[in-house]
């Protein structure tokens, strides 16, 4: 691997190597830029270092303390985001979905949320690129939305839990499909095909999973990028010309400084605003890139409620990737809804600790819990990835409490709004009917789970209402960029990582185009619209 000196004026210093940062590091270095990407996490070798074990694999997650409040205090940790080269894609569930085109203009076309400064046709082009790069295994024909190219690898076999989703959907007369997944169904390079061991959210020891760790990162290194692991970035430095000059970080206990012509923050929707807030100066007292006052605001989760029940047949949902079947019916249908937004729902495969946690939240413990756990191999469920609306009161701020480096930790404040609750109610009712129609008994609702954080540094067309522009560039500081799920103005009803990666590919192309026009170090004239 190429290594840069601290005094080297690298073109891009990137904070975070996950879905956003890893992808961007790869493409920028392939386009000829000099790139160093930092991650606080370790550079794991899955074959030698990943155990088949839920609790040991906590090592993949961001487990530094964060504080949660609001009406719906979030559950983070293993429910939330990673700390590793490859970021959260190392432990993600590989569900790789495109946004519904109208969501990029949900304010204008659907009457809620905010418009993105991006065009869906352009995104469609970048989605195809990501799907090719990750060799997504998916169905021959996708039932919803405009035409898309065939998925590069064939779909995965369904497990019993997925067949339950299919039965329910067919009984209720809606479409379903096998889920497009970022784990290969046939050998690819160093990746053998998925062996259906089911530990995906604890990391894939098979290396079948097409995470950033096994896709973008090796490509980035091959193209001359340096990846600096176990390096916690603590501050972005700003010079007296109001340009960023590099970043401060801690590695092996040493405080160090890397000079850079541009800094990209891609640390996930919590650490990204935290770092920008921590980097406040007297010129930028409210944090970097925060002239709109929106940095940290409009944090969006996705609702993640479920219905569960038991079947007389053995399901053994621990086998295979957890979400092998999906329906996006309620993402693409606008009639019959008493709420804005959409949701998909998928089959599920919780491992024992996660499953016991769900039963705990149902209030079970003692003998009642032991009894219910006896149905583990017969339990089956459906879970949504639901859209929530952006609200300024949902936000990431700095707490008084400090971390091990003496820096204020993130405080994450979250409350569902009435629309979010109506969406959840609709989904629970519908999924309950679907399970019932599929022959599932003893149905109950898990009402309080959430997943996938985005927002907190939204992109837009207007510097007063957004933190970055459509190219992910700060409105205030032209050589500061944000490239991860933080830039989402809305979240839609699908898992976010394919969209984050598509945005990163687009951003790399835009940076190359701006550089070609000499507009990289200076913000160009206001865009004509």
């Amino acid at each position: 691997m190429r290594e840069f000196e601290h005094d080297d004026d690298v073109d891009f210093a990137i904070v975070g190597t996950g879905a956003g940062g890893g992808t961007l590091a790869c493409r920028l270095s392939e386009l000829g830029f000099r790139v160093v990407a930092f991650d606080a996490g370790a550079w794991w070798r899955p074959l030698e270092e990943f155990a088949s074990d839920e609790s040991h694999q906590k090592k993949l997650f961001w487990t530094d303390e964060r504080l949660c409040d609001g009406e719906t205090p979030l559950v983070l940790g293993t429910n939330n985001s990673g700390k590793a080269i490859g970021g959260s894609t190392v432990h993600f569930a590989m569900v790789s979905l495109r946004f519904r085109p109208e969501w990029f203009k949900s304010r204008s076309l659907l009457g809620y949320g905010a418009d993105w400064p991006l065009d869906w046709r352009e995104m469609w082009h970048y989605y195809t690129q990501v799907e090719q790069a990750l060799k997504i295994s998916g169905p021959l024909k996708y039932p919803w939305g405009p035409k898309r190219p065939r998925y590069p690898y064939r779909e995965h076999e369904l497990n019993a839990a997925a067949w339950v989703l299919a039965r329910g959907a067919e009984a209720l007369g809606i479409d379903w499909t096998s889920t497009p997944l970022a784990t290969v169904s046939a050998p690819r390079g160093h990746s053998p095909p998925c062996v259906y061991r089911g530990f995906c959210v604890s990391g894939c020891a098979t290396n079948a999973k097409q995470s950033a760790l096994v896709t973008w990162i090796p490509r980035a290194v091959a193209a001359g990028a340096e990846i600096r692991d176990l390096a916690m970035v603590t501050r972005i430095a700003v010079g007296n010309n109001d340009r960023v000059t590099g970043l401060e970080y801690i590695r092996e206990g040493q405080r160090q400084f890397q000079r850079a012509r541009h800094v990209v923050v891609a640390g996930y929707a919590i650490e990204t605003p935290r770092l920008l807030l921590l980097s406040a100066t007297s010129r930028f007292p409210d944090g970097l890139g925060n002239s709109s006052g929106l940095l940290g605001k409009n944090l969006m989760v996705q609702s993640n409620q479920a219905v569960w029940g038991v079947m007389p047949e053995e399901i053994r949902a621990y086998k295979g990737p957890p979400s092998l079947a999906i329906t996006e019916h309620w993402n693409y249908t606008d009639i019959g809804k008493d709420f804005f937004g959409g949701y998909s729902y998928m089959s599920q495969g919780p491992l024992p600790i996660v499953w016991a946690g769900a039963l705990n939240r149902r209030g079970l413990w003692g003998q009642a819990l032991l009894d219910e756990m006896q149905h583990y191999n017969h339990q089956v469920g459906l879970k949504i990835v639901g859209e929530t609306l952006p609200q300024e009161r949902n936000r990431v701020t700095l707490a008084d409490e400090k971390d091990a480096n003496g820096l204020p930790i993130a405080r994450v404040t979250y409350s569902f709004c009435d629309n979010d609750k109506r969406l959840i109610r609709h989904a629970l009712d519908f999924m309950g009917r679907a399970l019932d129609a599929a022959g599932v008994g003893d149905i109950w609702e898990e009402t309080n789970d959430t997943c996938h954080l985005n927002g907190t540094a939204r992109m837009g067309d207007d510097p007063r209402c957004s933190v970055v522009d459509g190219d992910c560039r700060s409105w205030d500081i032209p050589n500061l960029w944000i490239c991860d799920g933080s830039v989402f103005p809305t979240v839609g009803g699908v898992n976010p990582s394919l969209t984050i990666q598509a945005i990163a590919l687009r951003t790399a192309d835009r940076i190359a185009a701006l550089a070609g026009r000499g507009e990289l170090d200076r913000r160009p004239q206001k865009k004509m619209s």
């Binding site: 088949s52 074990d53 961001w62 949660c68 062996v195 020891a205 016991a356 705990n360 006896q374 994450v412």
Partner: protein
């Protein structure tokens, strides 16, 4: 209660292609935790043991999962979750306050320390904790229901179900690398998975376990 997966022992697969070296090492350490408290003071330790017995009761004949010792070890290493509800203090402090407060509640209600209560009384106090009804000053403002859901249940049950003995009870396949699984459909079981005792078929289930390889 009859075992649902009679004769199934996930550890029998240790030497097979369902386990890799990393996993063998991780589970070996899991099976050999310290049996004594190394972090909590004696009273808190006794209280914790009593709480664990109520939250995850274990039959005295069965091989025991040392839940309390494993939790004490977690407290000693101060391994947090990566977040906490703002109403809770940090991990160690929450457990110290919670265990001490539970003991005070016990003395106030039953004039006995918590660990010396009979099972029904222990259960009763935990139920009141679950409903948020415990408000003794010893809680220092910590809401007892939040402590119960976010610490007591979450920490104890996660430890219990991290243990191979618990996997045996529920018929979980356990470690599965590199072999993974092949049969994915309803009522299909790979030979190296737990065989379930359908009523009247316990013998067949017991025979099923021999084919771990």
């Amino acid at each position: 209660m009859k075992a649902r997966y009679p004769g199934y022992n996930v550890l029998d697969k240790r030497g097979t292609v369902s386990w890799d070296d990393v996993t063998r090492e991780v589970i070996k350490q899991r099976m050999a935790p310290p049996s004594e408290s190394r972090f909590l003071d004696p009273l808190a330790w006794q209280t914790l043991q009593a709480v664990c017995e109520s939250v995850m009761p274990q039959s005295p004949e069965a091989a025991q999962i040392p839940v309390a010792a494993m939790l004490d070890e977690r407290l000693r290493t101060n391994a947090g979750d990566g977040y906490r509800d703002m109403r809770l203090p940090p991990l160690r402090q929450a457990w110290r306050i919670g265990l001490a407060a539970l003991n005070e509640e016990s003395i106030a209600t039953f004039r006995q320390p918590y660990y010396s209560l009979a099972a029904p009384q222990r259960h009763l106090l935990l139920e009141r904790m679950q409903r948020g009804e415990l408000v003794h000053p010893a809680w220092h403002g910590l809401p007892s229901d939040i402590f119960f859901s976010n610490r007591v249940l979450k920490d104890i049950c996660a430890i219990y179900y991290s243990h191979p003995y618990a996997w045996n009870q529920i018929g979980f396949g356990g470690p599965a690398n590199p072999r993974g699984y092949v049969r994915m459909y309803f009522d299909r079981r790979d030979p190296w998975e737990a065989a379930e005792a359908k009523p009247g078929h316990e013998v067949r289930a017991r025979r099923g376990k021999h084919r771990v390889r």
